[in-house]
Symmetry: C3
Subunit: 138 residues, 3 copies
């Protein structure tokens, strides 16, 4: 069995941003040399997400509007978590979007559907944060 | 290490449907001959879901009502994603329900709790779509 | 390839509770002797969740308030699932929080970010329920 591990770093300019990381994750897979197995990609922070969806800017605006409706950022006082911090909403938004994805590795490639793209979802940015890529297989 | 891969195809009659795929996934596992490992089952489309819950028709109606409340299909104009398409709501509904499940394989069987059943959740149907089953182990 | 399996049992005093199970899952990993691989931890019941977030009591109160807003427990009659049962809301709450987490195993340790903690989320407690830990690797 082969295993591979890499951390990806992010430092977004805005509080909330979506970044397509499919190409970077694909480079990790090639670097690993693994042909068959499973790839785990997860946020290492609890106010960020790794998820799979469409790379379409209208949809990303819809996500922003929708998440703000389900778990609004303000007023900060609505969350008991917000004392020293102001990111209560980010914990909830990331819960909706999910922490991680598991992707099949087949013939040395990410075994994704036609429109599946892997995204980093940041909900409390403007600071350095990490994503883990772990691959096991052979 | 052994690996196994299969695509399952769906073409639902309605826009939104839930299908219990536990038996089909179980057949994949038997076909694989894998006794110990992990099984990934994921939608290959971004407006569909694979999730685990109860096979109870009342609950499935509750899911339908609840998802329509959290991310209504209409009016289509409420989503920026809806220009050429009308499935903005389906991307959001699938986000709530999740893309994938990972199930333990123990003694050649799906290691599920008593009431756990695997479902395909379609939110933008009436066309051919795929689910991936990938198993690794030995 | 090595594999490891363990069931963790819970019997909560209240209908809804969150329990930090990181230490217990870590003990499973040590017991397994696995150094590199993937760890799956999932609820075996469909009204409970395993998720990763912050061990902060204010946040946990925020989760309770937020989940009650998105999928209220009462009136019980609002859910078609509630005939013999009264736990329709618990199925929906667990859907938001997720069934499972997959965690990388690196150098014999849970490869978690600084603030990542693994929780058991109970939404229909006061009875015995199980969580599965399955680890594969070498």
């Amino acid at each position: 069995m082969k295993t591979y591990r890499k951390e990806l770093w992010f430092d977004t300019k805005q509080r909330r941003e979506f970044h397509n990381i499919t190409r970077t994750v694909d480079e990790c897979l090639r670097e690993s040399g693994i042909q068959e197995g499973l790839l785990l990609c997860n946020a290492m922070h609890i106010t960020a997400s790794v998820f799979i969806n469409d790379d379409e800017s209208g949809l990303h605006q819809d996500f922003e509007t929708w998440l703000e409706r389900l778990a609004p950022e303000k007023p900060y006082s609505q969350y008991k978590h917000n004392g020293y911090e102001d990111n209560g909403d980010a914990h909830l938004k990331r819960t909706i979007m999910g922490r991680e994805v598991v992707v099949a590795v087949t013939d040395g490639k990410l075994d994704l559907g036609t429109w599946e793209q892997i995204f980093y979802g940041e909900f409390d940015g403007k600071r350095k944060k990490r994503v883990l890529v772990k691959i096991i297989g052979e």
